[in-house]
Amino acid sequence: MWDYSDKVKEHFFNPKNAGAVADANATGEVGSISCGDALRLTLKVDDDTEVILEAGFQTFGCGSAIASSSVLTEMIIGKTIDEALQVTNQDIAAQLEGLPPEKMHCSVMGREALQAAIANYRGEVWKDDHEEGALICKCFAIDAVMIEEMVWANKLRTVEDVTNFTKAGGGCASCHEDIEAILEKVLAEKGEKFDPDAAPAAQPEKIAAVKTPLTNLQRIKKIEEVLESLRPALMADGGDVELVEVIGNTAYVKMTGACNGCQMAAMTIAGIQQRLMEVMGEFIKVVPSTEMAKLTNIEVA
């Protein structure tokens, strides 16, 4: 079974605001084809203040779909519809203390139901703007549609290209066969042939590995440089990373945006650590800055 957080279980076993709001004036109905899950969100919005007075959900779906629906209703009651629209799917996941990568789309469904309901209230028609595909890279939660789009857009030719542009395949590497299959398919559509030894597409700049001993200052600058090079890939996913402190061989980083709340954060950190060690040529442990508070006895060399 999935490794659900206690918060997910709490909302699943004791859902809040289940059922339809009796005299609702906003309704959103969405589904996620990748799970067969579907959700109807009903809201009672105060016409003068635009504050959401009541919210109710009806969900056909798995444990995390029900939990995402339940926590969403809690998060938006009392907010104005403009405030509610600021709620992202990462906020929903974070409120649930994280979701497994395969289940992040349950939080997306919650966010979309909210958008659909508010569009309905405003007399607009909500249009879905993204498509979901089969999950390919479990380490970084990248699906087939995302990889296909990147292959098309950036003329990618090899698995390494795909990893450089999407992070997919950059963790445990088990999905490389699937990535090759996508490359084969897309390249065939373009009338090209997949060649595993093809020259790489223009890629994010590589940083030269450290060969000589560094001063403390140089070392920290170098670590920053590595993080900087990884940032575009993280930002493509709506996340970001920031170096907070370096103590001994431990680098403390702050994960923000989409990285925060996704159970993938741990994998992302492992990926950053791997890259840092490759460049720095020494063992470096990457730790979320939230762990810093637990250090009571910092020794300064």
Binding site: G36, G63, A65, H130
Partner: protein, 402 residues
Amino acid sequence: MVDIYLDNNATTKVDHEVVDAMIPYFLEQYGNPSSIHKFADGVARGLKQARQQVQSLIGCEHDSEIIFTSCGTESNSTALLSAIKAQPNKKEIITTTVEHAAILNLCDYLEKEGYTIHRLPVDKAGRLNLESYKKLLSDQVAIVSVMWANNETGTIFPVAEMAELANAAGVMFHTDAVQAVGKIPMMLQDTKIDMLSLSGHKLHAPKGIGVLYLRRGTRYRPLLRGGHQERGRRAGTENTASIVGLGKACELALRYIEYENTTVKELRDRLEKGITESIPHCFVTGDLYNRLPNTTDIAFEYIEGESILMLLNKAGIAASSGSACTSGSLEPSHVMRAMDIPYTAAHGTIRFSFSRYNTMYEVEEVLKVMPGIVKTLRKLSPYWEGDAPVANPEQAFAPTYS
């Protein structure tokens, strides 16, 4: 709260007698069966006995037709790859749409390699059409691979009859019998089945041990080459303790096969009847008149399987589901889709699979909690209102899908 295990098609508890039979092969007779010293002198005899115990259960003619492998999947891969290697000019394979992934994914791969794969469809009750099967048999077909019994619904396929037809057309026949062995009687020597896969952990032996039955005279190419083990047909040092354990498990399965088809079947029937009588809008999937005695797969309409499993788990009951969410895949079970079960029901299928360890008390416990679980989830469902589905559920709730 008692823990109730009704997921025996996924895997089974290892029988105590099996564990007892294995222990000496870890602690005393741990020598390599190929060695000539006292740590090994009983091992060859142990393996020989195990081979005969497997032989008795599946009713094959010679014990040398038994090849020990690491699992059912290895047996399946060995069988199909052997058939195409031995007959390089034959480029077609016949199988079904409802096979286990161990066959389907291998066939998908072979398709990319240039093979033509014929996947026989099933009807709404999960049955094959033998007329369309007959039309596909030709001298171009390297092998037919059809499961003996389906893991999700328990539906039994007429493999003996299909093997006869294949044999008459000069085509090799393999069956993935992982779910069937030990649950229904078989006498392979009276059939034209050339190869059969079985897996230890489905019949109270440990995980990591399987068998490929290979009819004497069947053209064969090993998957693993190396040492002389298994007469050169499957190289690699024998998993001696597990082989002995599997032998013991086969002996026990033969002893209990009558029990399986009477007492265990009664448990299954009682649960199935109890659930379908007490819960509205649910139905049993598969071929009800031609099924394994231990399996029932019930679709609960308008709710989703993973949610049901989580609530069952909370009540101490273990089962499994054909929903997409439980596996993290895009689609509900391919078996449910093949039978054309609508999405709103396919996602809500729960499989209860019994073993000889289950009791009527456990069945009654499940019957106590199941109606409440379904009710709780239907209360949350947009397809449900009060005590019944909304009128025209598909129209009443038609979400925008992404």
